[in-house]
Symmetry: C2
Subunit: 136 residues, 2 copies
């Protein structure tokens, strides 16, 4: 039973999709995009092992952390745990800096929004707040 070893308990794309909460189209897209290895086919249809589910969950996890699919591909592509971790730290550090910046500018925006909310200018373009803000 060579096949039993190879495709034991193999899942269809629909089952995988339901399990991880993705559309089947997204999973096919990930295959095209190189985030998943080309799936084995049985009668032309994709069959997946359980580890694909982990991989997809890892993809979603990383996405939630703000990584692009191409970042994620780089991480997944790296075979060795050592270099992979190195790469991961590098990406994480960059992302942390990015988020710091995002939060900082979001807070600035909040301040301006709160002031502008109750600004008493007659027209927006004659607003002193606006004049002030625009000169930065």
């Amino acid at each position: 039973m060579a096949t039993a070893i190879v495709d034991g308990a193999a899942l269809t794309i629909g089952e995988v999709a339901r399990t991880v909460g993705l559309r089947t189209s997204a999973i096919r897209y990930y295959e095209d995009a190189g985030l998943l290895p080309r799936a084995a086919r049985v009668g032309g249809k994709r069959r997946y092992q359980r580890d694909t589910i982990d991989r997809l969950l890892l993809v979603r996890f990383s996405q939630r952390l703000g990584f692009s699919l191409s970042d994620i591909r780089r991480i997944l592509a790296d075979p060795t745990g050592r270099r992979r971790k190195q790469l991961w730290r590098q990406l994480v550090d960059a992302k942390l800096g990015e988020i710091d910046g995002l939060i900082t500018s979001a807070r600035r925006v909040q301040r301006v929004l709160r002031e502008s909310r109750d600004c008493d200018c007659v027209t927006l373009s004659s607003c002193r707040l606006l004049q002030q803000e625009l000169s930065r």
Copy 2:
């Protein structure tokens, strides 16, 4: 000199673009998108009054605050100061809530990133942090 009254000190699209720091293509796009009224033409070429500069600066200001062009169009389209301010407050409040949410989730992401940075898992998919995070 009837024209002197109408187009006194009128600016070309290039001058306006340099003044506000936009590409001419963006200004044409804004006209198409209804953010600017159709500009007067002299010999087929657009001519602008100074107030267009204010309007464009207002557009950029609002963009910096996170508003989409269609939000901005709504604000600019509203003729009366009263309703306009009402609309502005409404949009500002919505945006403030949005940003609150953004900052909150950004901070959550930061926490996870910091933990994951020094996570000692051998493979990412066997990471306890990941397992924990995925169950949410």
